[in-house]
Symmetry: C2
Subunit: 150 residues, 2 copies
Amino acid sequence: MSDYTYFEDFVVGSKLETPPLTVTEADIINFATQFDPQPMHTNPAAAEQITGGLIASGWHTASLTMKLLITGRQYNPAPGTVGLGFESLKWLKPVRPGDTLRLQLELLAVRNSESKPGWGIITNRFTTLNQHGEPVQTMVSSAIVPKRNK
Amino acid sequence: MSDYTYFEDFVVGSKLETPPLTVTEADIINFATQFDPQPMHTNPAAAEQITGGLIASGWHTASLTMKLLITGRQYNPAPGTVGLGFESLKWLKPVRPGDTLRLQLELLAVRNSESKPGWGIITNRFTTLNQHGEPVQTMVSSAIVPKRNK
């Protein structure tokens, strides 16, 4: 039996939550310096004036959400599984140094791919929470997944 | 006169394109090792079998799109300007080592904020192109921006 997760393994309505990870000030500055060099993300003193202290780039939060997805659960996607994009990504609250994030996933839909026989599309709601249980980011995301039995 | 860009400076229908940036194999592996550790993004030999060679994490493409936005144009957002999230992000083609990306922006809408007097919401279509002029990522994104004259 394969260890991989195939289309047939996804059950609509199933939920899971990952273990947490903590974001440091250095993490926030390092990401933003590379990808989103704005003072509110890179300069603690300037950020104090703008946003009451350093806040993470939204793309950092999104990337950490991907990290939680990939590293935070028993999940070994079948080769070829790939994200197609997302709908309705919202950043609801700032992520600040020392915040601890975890990801809740709810499988909203599974359907056959119309263009690619032997494959299916899964759609999940992603909710990234902080240590207070507050959503910091939500999105709905789809991926294409191979079927075990083609 | 302020150097900052305020709500009043945004004109619906305006378009711009950033200078390009090139993505290296090391960039792709470095990002994915941190945020999206899957073989198609981190292991060239394994990726050869899965995706015909290494491909960038979609979140890397999204983060590079932010980098193009922030560093690739004359743009000095007024303090407080912050992205609210995104609709309809699609990854249309893989980004591979050596690809050169640029960003086209089209301002789709401007409106007053209903909840925050003195502020407005701008909505842009983001199209990230490769060196062949092919879109690799599209999305529609909104940000809240302060008005110059409150």
